[in-house]
């Protein structure tokens, strides 16, 4: 298939992080929307870490006296069909969403970056082989790939986190990062310092890890941030389908999954708030990711 976009081809100067003491301030000045996204992310992170103190109720506490209660002073976002406080479940749900999102996007991007760097560095047959696999993986929609992993692996819960769910969300991220990392690597491999390293007799592993990887940090950070939004959306979708997080663990997608048509009219808060939590989280990571991209690497704009 013929593609028009030539992929990120940026100079190494643009790819090293600006190392000024006031880098954060410079970012804030040039990307106000990114700061807005970052603040929202920090609020979610705060909710995740401080859930214990912030949440007014135990998220798994069933209260049959207050089933499907409308939003009120006691229950700001109302309660669900088991009388559980919706606000508390949303606050604790940010733990699930962020844990799954952060672990899978970092692991996925690290694996993808190594694969892409190796592909671009070695070239030739290795490159062709890796790229064919990447192409094939990219021809499946993200959720389809994740569902296949879920179907084959089943569940493996360790410490309250379903490791196989994380694997399912990680897998689709790998080929996307590999693509970007390969393109960046190709522009670095052509530079003299790589020749110098080779002439000095360094091994492949050392050159990849010490010379190439540090130079693809910028696209890496951008991809981590973008994958985070994707991972949160994917976890919510899988949980909604009943293939992700299981009851009674609070997760946003799962909260929507229990809602049948009866609740659309009688308890709209059960549908509105969890969905809003997902949307705002994805929005925040997208906004931050876009700003990070514009700031670190203006040429990577798609």
């Amino acid at each position: 298939m013929a593609t028009v976009a030539s992929g990120p081809q940026s100079s190494p100067q643009a790819e090293t992080l600006p190392k000024r003491p006031n880098a954060l301030w410079a970012f804030a000045r040039s990307q106000p929307l990114g700061v807005f996204g970052l603040v929202m992310i920090l609020i979610y992170v705060g909710c995740a870490f401080g859930a214990h103190w912030i949440a007014p109720y135990d998220p798994e506490e069933i209260d049959f006296a207050a089933m499907i209660a409308a939003p009120s002073h006691e229950h700001l976002f109302g309660t669900d069909q088991y009388g559980r406080d919706v606000l508390s479940r949303i606050i604790y749900g940010s733990r699930t969403a962020l844990a799954v999102g952060i672990i899978s996007s970092i692991v996925g991007c690290v694996l993808g970056a190594l694969l892409g760097a190796a592909s671009g560095y070695f070239g030739g047959r290795i490159d062709t082989f890796i790229q064919r696999i990447v192409d094939i993986m990219l021809s499946f929609p993200i959720i389809v790939l994740a569902m296949v992993v879920v179907a084959v692996l089943g569940k493996l819960t360790v410490g309250g986190i379903d490791l196989n769910l994380i694997a399912a969300i990680t897998l689709p991220i790998v080929p996307r990062m590999a693509r970007v990392a390969r393109a960046s690597t190709l522009s670095i491999v052509a530079l003299p310092f790589i020749d110098a390293a080779k002439a000095a007799g360094f091994g492949h592993t050392r050159i990849i890890l010490r010379h190439i990887v540090p130079n693809i940090v910028a696209p890496f950070l951008i991809m981590v941030s973008a994958s985070m939004a994707q991972a949160i959306l994917l976890e919510a979708s899988l949980s909604f389908l009943g293939l992700g997080v299981t009851e009674p663990t609070p997760a946003w997608g799962l909260m929507l999954s229990g809602t049948s048509a009866d609740f659309y009219q009688t308890a709209p808060w059960m549908i509105l708030f969890p969905g809003l939590a997902i949307t705002l989280a994805v929005f925040a990571f997208n906004l931050f990711g876009d700003s990070l991209r514009d700031w670190l690497d203006p040429k990577m704009k798609s």
Partner: protein, 317 residues
């Protein structure tokens, strides 16, 4: 032209074989045992003999290479094996549910194009005005709102405003167009929103780029009427990346459909896929994944053909 199309169609065969091999190994080689997952779901106590018997029944006790050859041999005749749950051929199970999903996907695509081209153009022409800002906010939220939640919001709005719930039964379009549209329009709109958002963003940035080109400046210097410049010179050239993104995003559209069909209770391939996954019906999963990849490859072939039509400089030989 016709030769080009035929050759391209022929060239999809090795790609499809590659995908088929990948799907086979993805399902078989990953650690984990489908039979164990299926039988011991929710910690049910099942004896090892029962698991062995089930494995034999499904032909999973055969060596891997034999399974692989049997699977590959069935592909040319579209023999994808039988569903492990219903016992019906996979091809039949899929064929029943294909029309509704394909219709929704195409409708969503049309909705997206109908929204993206005018909106993206307006946004680019009135760049950095309030119109542009509104369009961009709408587009960015399209990327954040999960399509299944948007579907739920639609149902909620319809119920509250009109006290009307979208119907469930699917009627083929040629039998009763109105009844058909009443079912399919809602899921199409909810998955189409994201699609439209992506395409609008691409349309805007692509048009802004084209408008900086020399030939646009020349046309303007000649005194060509602005609307004519847009129609004859700018839009057509700006369409190329938009068409690319529409092709690439088609796969995500199907992904969105997998979840959204659940919300509207539509018995399409998306719902079939979810059911197959919950039941561990891996023959069906295999067939569906293959189908989705084939659709993706086919759509991208169409996109490549569209390039030649949009931009005669790209010669299809």
């Amino acid at each position: 032209m016709i030769w080009y199309v035929l050759r391209r169609l022929f060239l999809t065969i090795p790609t499809l074989i590659g995908v088929a091999v990948a799907v086979f190994f993805l399902i078989r080689v990953m650690p984990g045992d489908v039979v164990v997952v299926k039988l011991r779901a929710d910690g049910a106590a099942v004896s090892d003999e029962a698991i062995e018997a089930e494995r034999k029944r499904l032909g999973l006790d055969k060596p891997l290479y034999q399974q692989f050859f049997e699977y590959m041999a069935g592909l040319p005749t579209l023999d994808l094996g039988k569903s492990l749950w219903t016992g019906e051929p996979v091809t039949k199970e899929i064929a029943i549910r294909m029309p509704v999903s394909i219709q929704i996907a195409i409708m969503a695509g049309l909705i997206a194009i109908a929204i993206a081209i005018p909106l993206g153009t307006i946004s680019a022409v009135y760049r950095d005005t309030w119109v542009d800002h509104v369009v961009r906010v709408v587009a960015v939220s399209g990327l954040a709102i999960p399509s299944f939640w948007l579907g739920m919001l639609m149902i909620m709005a319809l119920l509250t405003l009109f006290n009307w719930l979208p119907k469930i039964g699917y009627v083929p379009f040629w039998q009763d167009p109105m009844a058909n549209l009443a079912v399919t329009i809602w899921p199409a709109a909810s998955v189409g929103y994201r699609y439209a958002a992506v395409a609008t963003r691409m349309m805007r940035s692509s048009l802004l780029e084209v408008m900086r080109e020399d030939y646009i400046r020349t046309a303007r210097a000649k005194g060509v009427w602005q609307a004519l410049i847009m129609r004859r010179h700018a839009l057509r050239n700006a369409m190329l990346p938009v068409v690319t993104v529409i092709g690439l995003e088609f796969a995500f559209l199907i992904g969105g459909l997998v979840v959204t069909e659940q919300v509207f209770n539509i018995n399409g391939i998306g719902k079939l896929f979810v059911d197959a996954t919950t039941r561990g019906d891996f023959n069906l999963i295999q067939g569906l994944v293959l189908l989705i990849a084939a659709i993706f490859i086919f759509v991208n072939l169409i996109v490549d053909l569209l390039y030649g039509w949009l931009d005669p400089r790209i010669r299809l030989t």
